[in-house]
């Protein structure tokens, strides 16, 4: 009997706790449909939903619509995902599978850069990209990802190395007998078997670049190249809190991609976080 009561109490605690955690998001959904006058009323949902918040918010940046910003962001994300996929798996295969002089030395350097606070690099990298004329292009994002650096790049390599090491080496040996080159082994054997880890890497690459607000703020200046995050900041600044409904509506839309990724790929999320201790 007491065990049952314990169980019930625990559920009650967890239900209340989960509701408290999620409450701001529920309120957010309601608020995105409220008029400005109704926003400060305590009710969760508006008496009359203002769908115009979404329509007007979508066009609230003069001369542009959020369609442009989403296309920009998704376009950039796709390039970054492809580039990260190629570079991080190549490097991970090299570290995880091949023996070469100084490997342990390079690997410990890689581990060291995992802990390096990124903000030390912001200023010199900005100066470098500025001299190269890359400011206000997407190159400051693409090039670092091309060399397994950039937002979380080292983390991805590390995660993949751990996974590649777990794939039995006998597979390589027999493939080599069949005349398979190292690249062949990478491409035909190790890559297909690394798929779960690759999915995890892709998920976090997508999310971290979506939220790389400081990077976008630094390198993208012209509105026609703006990402969704910068556009949100822009309507926040220009409306100075006058159109909270629209602002909250557009903010809400901007978390939909992350939410969808999470809903459909939850398994990979939990595994990725748990095995590597990645920050969410």
């Amino acid at each position: 009997m007491t065990i049952k009561w314990n169980q019930a109490g625990r559920h009650l605690f967890m239900i209340i706790f989960s509701l408290v955690m999620i409450y701001p998001v529920i309120w957010w959904i309601g608020a995105s449909l409220k008029s400005n006058a109704e926003l400060s009323s305590p009710g969760l949902f508006p008496s009359k939903p203002q769908w115009s918040n979404f329509v007007n918010g979508w066009h609230s940046v003069p001369g542009h619509s959020f369609t442009d910003f989403y296309l920009n962001t998704f376009g950039l994300e796709i390039v970054l995902l492809i580039v990260t996929l190629i570079s991080s798996t190549l490097v991970a295969f090299g570290f995880g599978r091949l023996d070469f002089p100084l490997k342990n030395f390079w690997f410990s350097l890689l581990m060291l850069t995992l802990m390096l606070p990124g903000q030390v690099l912001i200023i010199p990298q900005y100066a470098m990209f500025h001299q190269l004329g890359w400011v206000n292009t997407y190159l400051p994002f693409i090039v670092p990802h091309l060399v397994a650096s950039g937002a979380g790049g080292t983390f991805f390599v590390f995660l993949l190395i751990q996974f590649v090491r777990g794939i039995p080496r006998e597979l390589d040996e027999s493939a080599k007998m069949d005349g398979c080159s190292w690249f062949g082994i990478y491409w035909r054997i190790v890559m297909p078997l690394t798929k779960p880890a690759i999915v995890t890497v892709m998920i976090f690459c997508f999310l971290w670049n979506w939220d790389d607000f400081l990077g976008h703020l630094l390198y993208i200046n012209s509105v026609d190249k703006y990402t969704v995050g910068l556009a949100l900041r822009m309507i926040n600044d220009s409306s100075s809190g006058q159109e909270w409904g629209q602002l909250l509506a557009m903010s809400l839309v901007s978390i939909v991609p992350a939410t969808l990724v999470f809903m459909f790929l939850q398994k990979y999320f939990v595994e990725g976080i748990a095995t590597t201790g990645i920050k969410g």
């Binding site: 625990r10 989960s18 955690m21 190549l90 023996d99 070469f100 010199p124 650096s149 400081l214």
Partner: protein, 320 residues
């Protein structure tokens, strides 16, 4: 299957003798080719920029004018005549000291409750993880600014309990706490890591101690906490490193104000570097930050031998 492998291995041994000089270098050359992207990245985008930034920190570099060497003058000014530096250090330490432990404690406690093989664990986990998923975005920062504004929902809820309204983000004594709360709200990702750690603790430890008459609290402090301490240690170090670099929420929610009460270090760095383009001065700031983070991490690592337990191979617990 195993038979074919043995045959294959035998043939491998046979061909090895006939391998040419070049094929002995096959793996090393291939190895370096595979890691080449990372090597370029490491030298071009990590090592070189770090040296560059160290050099900048001794100059008056501003992106426009020619660079001139100023010696240690940047550092001198930061330590002797820079009120904003002092203020941002104070704010950042307050933020780190408040947010990191609170986040870890919340993550640990909820993980322990959740770990008791409950039905619906995945639903709870989803609800609790969700804030971590979206919390870093500018969207949530905008939401936070509204919730904790004078007319925000937080004041309305307090009003129900008869607590007077205040502008949480516009009041210098509470503004930083709204940012701390936003960070703590995102404890879900740490919790998932703790849950994975809890799964590793062998059940017979609990069973044996129950036989010896240990209650839940004793078990928590004598078994759960020591067994989980390596995970806790890792989370603590990473949490501290991340907290020192907090930027987006301070920039969007309060922009450092009111009265510089949320003026975190990263914000100051950003302002010096990209509003005033004093890249030399801000490089010095960045290096000071790096040294502070390294020292704090080293202190935590130094204390770890007193509280982080590693299992020895024989299975017993032992201090490292």
């Amino acid at each position: 299957m195993s038979q074919t492998t043995t045959v294959a291995l035998k043939t491998a041994a046979g061909t090895k003798k006939r391998k040419s000089f070049l094929s002995r270098w096959d793996a090393p050359i291939a190895g370096y080719l595979f890691i080449l992207p990372w090597l370029i990245g490491f030298f071009g985008l990590t090592a070189y920029p770090m040296i560059l930034s160290l050099y900048y920190s001794f100059t008056d570099y501003t992106l426009m004018e020619p660079i001139s060497w100023v010696g240690a003058r940047n550092y001198e000014r930061i330590f002797t005549a820079d009120d904003k530096f002092i203020q941002s250090i104070k704010v950042t330490f307050m933020y780190v000291i408040a947010s990191v432990p609170l986040k870890l404690i919340a993550a640990l406690l909820v993980a322990v409750v959740l770990n008791k093989a409950m039905k619906g664990i995945s639903a709870y986990r989803t609800a609790i993880y969700f804030p971590s998923l979206i919390g870093g975005s500018i969207a949530v920062s905008l939401l936070w600014r509204n919730i904790f504004g004078v007319d925000g929902i937080f004041n309305k809820i307090l009003g129900i309990f008869g607590i007077g309204a205040t502008g949480w983000v516009t009041n210098p004594s509470t503004a930083l706490w709204t940012l701390v709360l936003l960070t703590v709200w995102q404890f879900g990702s740490s919790m998932v890591i703790f849950l994975a750690g809890l799964k590793q603790i062998p059940n017979d430890l609990y069973e044996a101690s129950s036989v010896d008459g240990a209650n839940k609290f004793v078990q928590f402090f004598k078994i759960t906490l020591p067994m989980l301490s390596p995970t806790l240690y890792f989370n603590l170090i990473m949490g501290v490193i991340n907290a020192f670099q907090m930027f987006t929420s301070a920039y969007v929610i309060t922009n450092g104000g009111p009265m510089n009460s949320t003026y975190v270090y990263a914000l100051y760095l950003y302002e010096r570097a990209f509003s005033r383009y004093q890249l030399g001065y801000s490089s010095a700031l960045a290096w000071i930050m790096l040294v502070i983070i390294v020292v704090v991490a080293a202190i935590i690592a130094g204390t770890s031998k007193y509280w982080v337990f590693y299992e020895t191979e024989s299975g017993g617990k032992k201090r490292k």
